[in-house]
């Protein structure tokens, strides 16, 4: 009687694990996409020139302005990659290079109005991609 119960319990735990994993991946898809959406709205406002964060010639404030714009783009890329990566995992396909390039272009193009933001975003995005590539290799 007790043996049967234990076996049932074990098989139940084994079944629940992938379900929990799937649930958490599903939640990650939604949460990451939500954050990426917010970052996209902020990026449209700042990098689209609709809102100026620091309307000053002060070099420190200008640096801060560029930093915020670059960080918004980089975080957008990171969260979109996480979200799409998990989405792909749930559908049983790998996140291929084509999609990463697409997210890369969509992230970088947000900075087209400002050459400094563009340059720093390009460097940042390349560093992230190299980092992701190295992690994958390991």
């Amino acid at each position: 009687m007790s043996k049967i119960k234990k076996e049932n319990l074990k098989s139940g735990t084994v079944n629940r694990k992938p379900k929990l994993k799937e649930k958490s991946a599903h939640r990650s898809v939604k949460l990451s996409a939500g954050i990426a959406g917010i970052l996209l709205i902020i990026s449209i406002s700042l990098n689209g020139g609709y809102i100026s964060l620091f309307a000053s010639e002060n070099i420190l404030l200008q640096t801060l302005d560029i930093t915020v714009k670059v960080l918004v783009i980089l975080f957008f890329f990171i969260f979109m990659t996480i979200s799409i990566g998990n989405y792909k995992e749930l559908t049983g396909k790998p996140l291929d290079l084509k999609l990463i390039v697409l997210i890369f272009i969509f992230s970088l193009v947000q900075s087209f109005r400002d050459s400094l933001v563009f340059s720093f975003s390009l460097i940042g995005l390349l560093i992230i991609i190299v980092y992701l590539f190295l992690i994958q290799e390991n």
Partner: protein
């Protein structure tokens, strides 16, 4: 359930910080008096308002006060300020009364206009001043300075014009300054149509700058485009269209992805079956 609620609260909190940070527009020191300036007939810069020719009739007319301390706006001197554009210049007139204006106290009176670039907020780097050397003989000179770290330096190539005339106790100062002209180089602010510039009106009784300034106020002037000219320059128009196209494409991509997320559960079930 409790964990779920906590994560929602954290998510809302992060979203709130991110969204509100975008609205930290640094203009905490108040907005200057703003007005739009259109076009009219060219006035003669001679310190005289010629009512017969109606030279200032089409000007934007405003009454402002100049204060000893801009943060504590009291004990102001009320002045009439008229502004108009006539190709290729911007014209500004200031008119006011003072008791015993012809007395020696005002012999070295001056009225100046400090200019800040459109993106420089209140960093005034250009000064146009009409400086009296002898009020009783109406002897004055028009001065064009550039300002570097509060020091006033005379321009190598002065531009613009200025004049003044005292009649009774009332004095009229008139200024003209070029718009869309880069001849002044780095010493002058290049005024452009379609942009808003901050101007500081300064007044004093001794010819020392900036310590001679006793009262001032800031106005913000939006320079309209000439009649018939396109409201937006072609470069700016292309940039705006590109911005809309690019961000709409990214937005559409993102909306499609969100749609795919809503179909994710069905997609997984379809794959499993």
């Amino acid at each position: 359930m409790k964990k779920h609620t906590t994560s929602i609260i954290i998510f809302i909190f992060i979203a709130q910080i991110l969204v509100s940070s975008a609205f930290l527009v640094v203009k905490t020191y108040g907005t200057p008096i703003e007005f739009d300036v259109g076009f009219g007939t060219t006035p003669v810069i001679d310190g005289i308002v010629d009512g017969a020719s109606g030279e200032w009739d089409s000007a934007e007319k405003l009454e402002i006060e100049l204060f000893p301390d801009l943060s504590n706006q009291s004990d102001g001197l009320s002045i009439e300020l008229w502004v108009l554009q006539a190709e290729p210049n911007l014209y500004i007139l200031a008119r006011f009364d003072l008791n015993d204006h012809s007395s020696s106290e005002y012999n070295n009176e001056f009225l100046g206009i400090l200019l800040a670039d459109w993106d420089a907020d209140l960093d005034f780097t250009d000064a146009k001043i009409v400086q009296f050397s002898n009020m009783s003989t109406n002897a004055y000179s028009y001065l064009d300075y550039y300002i570097n770290d509060t020091f006033y330096y005379e321009d190598v190539n002065p531009n613009g014009n200025g004049a003044a005339k005292l009649e009774g106790n009332q004095i009229v100062y008139e200024f003209s300054m070029p718009v869309e002209s880069s001849e002044g180089g780095i010493e002058d602010i290049e005024l452009d149509h379609g942009d808003t510039f901050n101007f500081k009106i300064i007044f004093g009784k001794t010819a020392i700058y900036p310590s001679g300034i006793i009262i001032s106020n800031i106005i913000s002037i939006h320079l309209q485009f000439p009649p018939g000219a396109p409201d937006v320059p072609i470069g700016e128009l292309l940039m705006s269209i590109s911005t809309i196209v690019i961000f709409s494409t990214i937005g559409a991509f993102f909306a499609y992805y969100v749609y795919r997320i809503t179909r994710l559960k069905k997609e997984i079930e379809r794959i499993r079956s």
